[in-house]
């Protein structure tokens, strides 16, 4: 107990010692919100000036994610797929999930079952409108995942997990990676560079929505998979 106390005091000293230079350094950064800070005048200015036209998305965040910095987003899709691979490799697979012994109240049960389809439609709306509205593939995917998790709370994880065969689940989870890789390779003939999107607006639109859908479905399936694996992990 004494040792723990000494450790806490030592940590407190360490953190206090860190706090001073951190705070001192941070207040010397350009103040947030000022239009003449480098964060706004350099690359960002270019994005805002011509990003919508060149990137093909009025929502510049989507343009940056899917077009300008597509490789980062590919990495992001891969990280979350890797997380599922990792969880599955460590914990066992979804089929080991066992039902939660405490049934939820009938009201919760009813409300969630009622909400399910609406959440799914909203998720789809968020996914396909990502280029004009806030939102996009991953946000919609999270909503899809959240819907599956909610459903598995009232229906029991195994029923939801088994709604689709184990084999299809894996393919669904990899959708993001596979679609992204395909669009990236198509960039070579269409735009001259890997990860490039074509200049022709119609085709670019189609590929953007394909990317969003891939990321959304893949992300949602992965998040649900993470939940299934964790919910049943210690009994595998």
């Amino acid at each position: 107990m004494n040792r723990r106390r000494a450790g806490r005091i030592l940590t407190a000293v360490l953190i206090a010692a860190l706090a001073v230079p951190l705070m001192y350094g941070m207040v010397q950064l350009p103040a947030p919100g000022h239009a003449d800070a480098p964060a706004h005048t350099n690359v960002s200015a270019g994005y805002i000036e011509r990003g919508a036209e060149l990137g093909g998305s009025e929502n510049l965040v989507t343009g940056v994610l899917l077009n300008f910095r597509a490789l980062d987003t590919f990495g992001e899709v891969l990280v979350i797929f890797t997380a599922w691979l990792a969880v599955a490799a460590v914990a066992g697979t979804a089929s080991n999930a066992e039902r939660d012994p405490v049934p939820p109240s009938p009201v919760v049960d009813y409300v969630i079952r009622l909400l399910g389809p609406f959440i799914a439609i909203f998720a789809l709306f968020v996914i396909v409108n990502g280029h004009v509205l806030p939102g996009g593939g991953f946000q919609g995917g999270v909503l899809l995942g959240a819907m599956l998790i909610l459903l598995s709370l009232v229906m029991d994880a195994e029923t939801v997990a088994r709604a689709v065969s184990a084999r299809s689940w894996i393919w669904l989870r990899a959708t993001g990676v596979l679609v992204f890789a395909m669009v990236a390779v198509m960039g070579l003939p269409l735009a001259g560079y890997l990860f490039g999107l074509p200049d022709e607006p119609g085709l670019r639109q189609v590929l953007t929505v394909a990317l969003e859908l891939g990321i959304g479905i893949g992300g949602g399936a992965v998040l649900a998979g993470l939940f299934f694996a964790i919910a049943g992990a210690d009994r595998s």
């Binding site: 230079p21 951190l22 001192y24 350094g25 941070m26 010397q28 950064l29 350009p30 800070a37 480098p38 964060a39 706004h40 005048t41 350099n42 690359v43 960002s44 270019g46 994005y47 077009n67 300008f68 910095r69 597509a70 490789l71 980062d72 590919f74 990495g75 992001e76 891969l78 990280v79 797929f81 890797t82 997380a83 691979l85 990792a86 969880v87 599955a88 490799a89 460590v90 697979t93 084999r167 894996i170 393919w171 990899a174 990676v177 596979l178 890789a181 990236a184 960039g187 070579l188 735009a191 001259g192 560079y193 890997l194 990860f195 490039g196 999107l197």
Partner: protein
């Protein structure tokens, strides 16, 4: 005719997508998964070698992903640091070959395809990390290889593996955050994420927030590289992981931390006044790590723990070289990073083959194994001597250059540190060799052991030969990294 530079993103994408496909295609067929993984790694190695030849031929080149101007999109580039992708791909390839029989025993059959997928994704993350010229992209690829590395440690069946992996994860995630925080600071200061652009802007900027970013990046990458005193996650994680994973982690994943430090030095090359104090600190931490790691290795009884501590020592050498900041020391450090990768993966694979055949991992228990497993034991003995830095072999070149650099920089005491650490390494090497060859078997498992299958001893043998060949090729290697070592430090002597 496709432009050469298009292969640069493919270097990373190929193992990443190949890895993602592994559980999709071969979930219930471990042997096919292995074959697939080996094929993907082979093709990646060919791509890496072709890019290296291109680099030697025509100097560095870059690729604008998506065709955007570098600062708006992401720039990938091939330079002398990126050339580390060649040993990375080849070492992962050999580890995958080795895994074939090892994993069948060490990992549940239903999870074998996940194992191969994670190894390939790890390689993809490493390759991307090596060739990217963008700060945030560096972070993304770092997370790819980190997350897969945490999981790979936990694929081992030993109970301690999950705890070691969790410790690795908590520390690794905190260090990644420091890197991300610094990326944010650099963005707030310069408004760009491109390494070259940001470096140019940082050279002109005010010292304090830049110092914050430098400290964050240096600490973050030092944790990933297991520099003393933030090395404590390494021994458990590397010892608990399955042997081929230990080889990849010790040879490559900690080296990615070194590469991160190299990129940091590049980023702050123009801000000499900030770099100097940090470099001094790094030299002495490296010296402490070299001595401490070697001594800790000497007292270990578990052979994999011994090798893991020796990695801490070698990371110490490399940091001494980087911190000295003279041309010969830095090129020595870069060459030693490659040589140590080859030697240490040979050692971990040999140790893995012994554990696979006998189920024993204690050095005293392994005695007398030299006769029973001649090729593996020879590989281990030979590379242990190479590790100590004996002249014609691979460990020598880098350490010699670092020692020369220490003398040039006026630190003769560092040479003493290097020599003492080398003697300690030789001492534990002799201890193992003595046990393997000059002691009678004490365990039934040793007396009845036979040589490991060819998929195990062949990689060990190839790495053993490589550890001699790289030693003989010391001068060309130094010449190759020379320009990079010069340019990394910008204005420094």
């Amino acid at each position: 005719m496709i432009e050469w530079s298009h292969w640069l993103p493919i270097l990373a994408m190929l193992p990443l997508v190949g890895g993602a496909l592994t559980p999709l295609l071969f979930r219930h067929r471990p042997a096919a998964a292995c074959f697939w993984a080996v094929s993907v790694a082979s093709v990646t190695s060919v791509v890496a070698i072709a890019l290296l030849l291109r680099l030697v031929d025509s100097g560095g080149f870059s690729y604008a992903v998506g065709g955007w101007l570098p600062q708006y999109g992401i720039e990938l580039r091939m330079d002398e640091v990126g050339a580390f992708a060649v040993p990375a791909s080849l070492l992962v390839l050999l580890s995958l070959v080795f895994s074939r029989h090892y994993v069948a025993r060490a990992v549940d059959a239903s999870r074998v395809s996940f194992y191969y997928a994670l190894v390939l994704i790890n390689l993809g993350g490493l390759n991307g990390f090596l060739v990217t010229g963008d700060l945030f992209n560096l972070f993304v690829f770092m997370e790819i290889f980190s997350v897969s590395a945490y999981a790979l440690v936990a694929t081992a069946r030993e109970p301690i593996a999950s705890l070691a992996a969790l410790k690795y994860l908590l520390l690794g995630a905190a260090s990644s955050l420091l890197v991300l925080f610094s990326v944010g600071v650099v963005f707030a200061m310069t408004g760009t994420l491109n390494l070259e652009d940001a470096a140019a802007a940082l050279a002109l900027s005010s010292p304090m927030p830049a110092g914050l970013a430098l400290a964050g990046l240096a600490t973050g990458f030092a944790v990933k590289a297991a520099l003393f005193p933030v090395h404590f996650w390494l021994p458990d994680a590397h010892a608990a992981a399955p042997a081929p994973v230990s080889a990849v982690l010790s040879a490559l994943v900690v080296k990615a931390g070194i590469v991160g430090v190299l990129r940091t030095l590049e980023l702050f090359g123009g801000a000499e006044s900030l770099l100097q104090p940090l470099l001094h600190l790094v030299v002495w931490l490296g010296a402490l790590g070299a001595l401490g790691g070697a001594l800790m290795a000497l007292v270990q009884r578990d052979i994999k723990l011994m090798l893991a501590y020796s990695t801490v020592a070698n990371i110490g050498y490399i940091f001494i070289g980087l911190g000295l900041a003279t041309a010969s020391a830095v090129s020595g450090a870069m060459v030693h990073a490659v040589n140590h990768a080859v030697i240490k993966s040979a050692l971990f694979l040999a140790a893995g083959a012994m554990i696979h055949r006998t189920g024993l991992r204690n050095i005293d228990d392994l005695r007398g194994l030299g006769r029973r497993m001649p090729v593996t034991a020879f590989g281990m003995a030979f590379t242990l001597i190479a590790l100590s830095g004996a002249p014609p072999m691979a460990g020598f070149t880098g350490k010699w250059q670092i020692a020369l650099g220490a003398l040039q920089a006026g630190h003769p005491s560092l040479v003493a540190v290097l020599v003492i650490a080398g003697i300690v390494v030789l001492a534990f090497g002799i201890r193992v060799i003595n046990a393997l060859y000059f002691r009678p078997p004490a365990r039934v498992a040793v007396a009845s052991a036979t040589e490991a299958p060819a998929s195990m001893w062949l990689p060990v043998l190839m790495l053993t030969i490589a550890s001699l060949a790289l030693g003989l090729a010391g001068t060309p290697m130094l010449e190759f990294v020379g320009p990079a070592a010069q340019s990394i430090y910008g204005t420094l002597p």
